[in-house]
Symmetry: C2
Subunit: 325 residues, 2 copies
């Protein structure tokens, strides 16, 4: 049984604990938390202080780093890669190359294997964009997200004065998806692909019109979208918006034939009741692949594009060929 | 420019020629045919006799073998792997392990890289079955084919006495797909998943009832399905059934959560106007990966499960990370 350390224990870390428990070949070594261990309630895993992790260097096969992309991962992943095989879910697209270089340097030097940006986007969606466009050079790929909860957008709304709680749903626009599936290869504005819907619990006596105006005009988050704001009670928030569903579509349309007369539509879609639990399940499958690559001395930083798909499965190559090819 | 030889020139070989012409990094070395070269009309590629291929051993980077799985590939692929890097689309599921072993032996010995069973099923569908079930251990995967033309089933009908021409469409049953998407994790009989529809041109005066009875009772092909037979004119066959569309769905439904309370649906679908041209496009992307793996001295027999996805693309790892991760 390979031993997995979980570094950080929010929704993603919890999902990783559950996902590792479902595997036949890996077990949780422990959870490493910045909080006092006695205050962290797990599904059964032992809790350690983050500062103690180096003591267990020889007992841990891989560390799954469950921190945030903004503040945690840019330092945590390169640091931990100096001592461990690691997996993260770094998702700040514009900084992926920079993050890759830092992790590559650390992992190559320490002779470990690191995999960054696992999950579903980046992750499974990245894979599908690469597969489809490599197969169909004369193609266009489209990514739609949702319907699902965006935690970043929900947090942005919560910071507005007078907001007690908020939940933001990203919703793909059906008409846009239909046009892509109809092989029109359209150009879209941001507004034409997705809309945003916010559920907000306001403080008693707060100016709802001001809150609404601040939301829909927020640059980078809402200004480029058609956004609807609903004010609801704390009770309704708790009962109707307590889950973290998400999903989306990668649709690639391409043409082949002497006169480009044949259209092809490749579509990958996810419909997830729990975004953190599915993301965690992807991280755990890639943790298995990381351990295997480290055993083959294939060190350094990787993304999902560098990993042979068979390495994700607990089954042997022979079993996989028999059962799935 | 890497040089690709096309071995066999039916619908698949033609698709390979068109697909290689669309790539920025590969070109067609030539077509090798069993027919007299002067009788083979290509889109521009030079035609050679199959028996002459060894003369061009040093000029060819990879051979894409476009033969049939029943009679051609079981001997062609191991033979050619003694001298070349090769790609095939072997699709007789029950013999994949045996085929793999023969090709592995030849390629390892000659220090070449071979990839078998590329295409969309086996191929892209195999990948999606492995990805989804590796991520979601508590899951079930379902494959539906169609609506599309099955060449094997069309050929089987053509062999019946009194049949001039035939085209068979495999059609997935909507109700079954709905039940899978609804997360019921159903068990299906063969009849519940797909139906078959045949268009037949009969000889003048042929006994249509007998032909129909022979079709719908044919073991291994039609007996386990609800099959509909339509008799049409040669003209209608030519005008309405002259294309080779196909496609299908791989749908995996799985559960996560402490009490398995979260459902996830992963769906990959293809809608292809030309089955041979899309299959050919997959073979060409894997030919690129085969060349790269041979350059890294990663010799022997591979399937799509053994190839890092980034190897399929003409873009560099840096470009891929920037553009698609």
């Amino acid at each position: 049984m390979k031993k997995v350390a979980i570094y950080g224990y929010g929704n993603l870390g919890k999902g990783v604990e559950l996902a590792v428990n479902e595997t036949p070949d890996m077990e949780v070594f422990g959870v490493f938390s910045r909080r006092a261990p006695e205050t962290v309630k797990t599904y059964g895993a032992t809790v350690y202080k983050v500062d103690d992790i180096l003591k267990y260097k020889d007992e841990i096969d891989v560390v799954i780093i469950c921190g945030g992309s903004a503040k945690d991962l840019p330092t945590m992943t390169p640091q931990l890669a100096q001592h461990f095989n690691v997996v993260d879910s770094f998702d700040t697209h514009k900084n992926i190359s920079e993050h890759f270089e830092k992790v590559e340097k650390a992992a190559k030097k320490s002779k470990h294997t690191a995999l960054i940006s696992a999950g579903w986007d980046p992750g499974m969606f990245s894979l599908n964009r690469v597969f489809a466009t490599a197969i169909l050079p004369d193609s266009r790929d489209y990514t739609f997200w949702g319907k699902g909860v965006s935690q970043g957008h929900s947090d942005a709304v919560r910071k507005i004065e007078g907001v007690v709680d908020a939940r933001q749903y990203t919703v793909p626009i059906d008409e846009a998806i239909k046009r892509v599936r109809a092989n029109e290869m359209p150009e879209f504005t941001t507004r034409e692909k997705h809309k945003r819907v916010c559920y907000v619990v306001a403080e008693r006596g707060a100016d709802k019109q001001r809150i609404k105006d601040e939301i829909i005009s927020m640059p980078g988050y809402f200004a480029d979208y058609d956004t609807t704001v609903y004010f609801i009670s704390a009770n309704e928030m708790k009962n109707k918006h307590n889950k973290l569903p998400h999903g989306g579509f990668v649709i690639t349309t391409g043409k082949t034939g002497q006169n480009k007369e044949h259209n092809h539509i490749v579509e990958y879609s996810l419909k997830l009741d729990s975004n953190p639990e599915f993301t965690a399940s992807v991280l755990v499958a890639y943790a298995r692949a990381v351990i295997r690559n480290a055993e083959r001395k294939n060190f350094g930083c990787k993304t999902v594009l560098d990993i042979a798909p068979g390495d994700l499965s607990p089954l042997s190559p022979e079993e996989l060929r028999e059962r799935y090819v």
